[in-house]
């Protein structure tokens, strides 16, 4: 479960990054049929008919709007990623999201095979920390 949560956090972090870099400012949110709210910590899980389990992350507030991620895990592997809540105020957002969300899904599925413990990168500052992969890796082990 630790590992799985870690990837859930990573996924949230990845989404936050994606929105930081690729979408324009937006305040409204497209809310899908999901539960859970808070500050990027807890998640909920539900079983599915296919034997996989779906984990729903908390809603993460970004400066572009709220983002929420769900992942489906089967046999310890992430088999699907969905982003039920994302900013969609205008046409541009919607166009970008149409491109960015499938990319995110692909990259999250690819990233889990890397199975890393920590991240070396260009200096992450205090301000950038919450949007970093490292913060997701840390969050999985804070107690």
């Amino acid at each position: 479960m630790r590992r799985i949560s870690m990837w859930l956090f990573s996924t949230v972090a990845a989404v936050v990054l994606l929105f930081s870099y690729r979408t324009s400012t937006s305040t409204s949110t497209n809310t899908g049929p999901v539960a859970g709210a808070g500050s990027g910590g807890s998640g909920t899980s539900t079983g599915t008919a296919t034997g996989g389990k779906t984990y729903t992350g908390s809603v993460a507030s970004t400066r572009w709007g709220d983002v929420q991620v769900t992942i489906t895990v089967a046999d310890g592997k992430i088999t699907d990623v969905a982003v039920p809540v994302y900013p969609s105020e205008n046409h541009k957002d919607q166009e970008i999201n149409a491109y960015a969300l499938p990319v995110l899904r692909q990259e999250t599925l690819a990233a889990q095979s890397a199975d890393i413990d920590t991240v070396s990168g260009a200096t992450v500052t205090t301000n950038g920390y919450l949007e970093s992969l490292q913060s997701a890796l840390d969050a999985a082990h804070l107690s």
């Binding site: 590992r3 972090a13 990845a14 990054l17 994606l18 870099y21 310890g76 990259e107 990233a111 890397a114 199975d115 890393i116 413990d117 920590t118 991240v119 070396s120 990168g121 260009a122 200096t123 992450v124 500052t125 205090t126 950038g128 920390y129 970093s132 992969l133 490292q134 913060s135 890796l137 840390d138 999985a140 082990h141 804070l142 107690s143």
Partner: protein, 262 residues
């Protein structure tokens, strides 16, 4: 799910020197008082170094010395140590690492700013408090610069190197049981590495990662190579005990001969 499934792991995170400092510890008894004591000693030392050597604080020994208000002999001995190490770093890098005349982080005015060396030096120095925890595995990450130790009965640490164009992606993974991984680039803070020859932001490379025994030198070498650009590659090849990965401005990825195979 993986080989380390049986090993417990715990993390501590604190913001010091304007950086997120995270310490991960692996082993049994992660809540022992001795463990807490040593982690606190690491963090306390980093806070202390920051108070003395921060360029952001007018009251630091560094700032007072630079204003001429504090003779070096009267300052904390760490200041003289850092200045001596910066001189050595300038020699080792043929001037491509140079703390002189860097823009003040608050005013932009040129000043002496050893921060690029202080980070690696301070983390390495503070990590000596963890040597008493040799049966534990530990990993210290200071804003993207990493120092690790893994005992024989634990797996090596897997360090992901972020993609310079997208910090959400991992470009390569290196495994390490002991030593440092440092990366310089512009992914998070824009072009903040200064070319000491022109005093302008360096844009010659997208990212340089250096691995080797000492975090201080891995960090200095990565910063110097990022400032110099592709021409630094042959110099990186010749470094004793250190290897490097460079992503050039057009996006070409190069690794030195001793870089671990993927």
């Amino acid at each position: 799910m993986t080989a380390l499934g049986a090993v417990s792991q715990r993390a501590w995170v604190e913001q010091i020197m304007g950086l997120p400092i995270s310490i991960h510890l692996r082993g049994d008894r992660l809540t022992d008082e001795a463990v807490e004591h040593r982690i606190e000693a690491v963090l306390a030392e980093l806070r202390h170094v920051n108070a003395l050597l921060s360029p952001y604080r007018d009251g630091s020994d560094l700032s007072a010395w630079e204003r001429g208000a504090l003779p070096l002999a009267d300052a904390d001995p760490m200041l003289a140590q850092v200045i001596a190490l910066c001189d050595e770093a300038r020699r080792r890098t043929d001037g491509w690492f140079d703390p002189r005349g860097l823009p003040d982080p608050r005013t932009g005015e040129p000043r002496y700013d050893p921060s690029g060396l202080v980070k690696g030096w301070a983390v390495e120095r503070a990590a000596r408090h963890l040597t008493g925890l040799d049966t534990y595995g530990w990993c210290v990450n200071a804003g993207g610069d990493v120092l690790v130790h893994a005992p024989a009965d634990q797996p090596a640490w897997r360090i992901g190197i972020e993609h310079p164009d997208d910090p959400a992606r991992i470009m390569r993974v290196v495994e390490s049981r002991s030593g440092a991984v440092a990366t310089s680039g512009s992914a998070h803070r824009g072009a903040h590495i200064i070319d000491p020859r022109t005093r302008q932001p360096a844009t010659a490379t997208r990212a340089v990662t250096v691995i080797g025994p000492a975090l201080l030198w891995a960090d200095v070498y990565a910063t110097a190579a990022a400032a110099q650009g592709s021409a630094a590659f042959s110099w990186l090849e010749d470094l004793d005990g250190y290897d490097a990965l460079m992503v050039t401005r057009p996006g070409l990825l190069r690794v030195t001969a001793g870089w671990p195979a993927p």
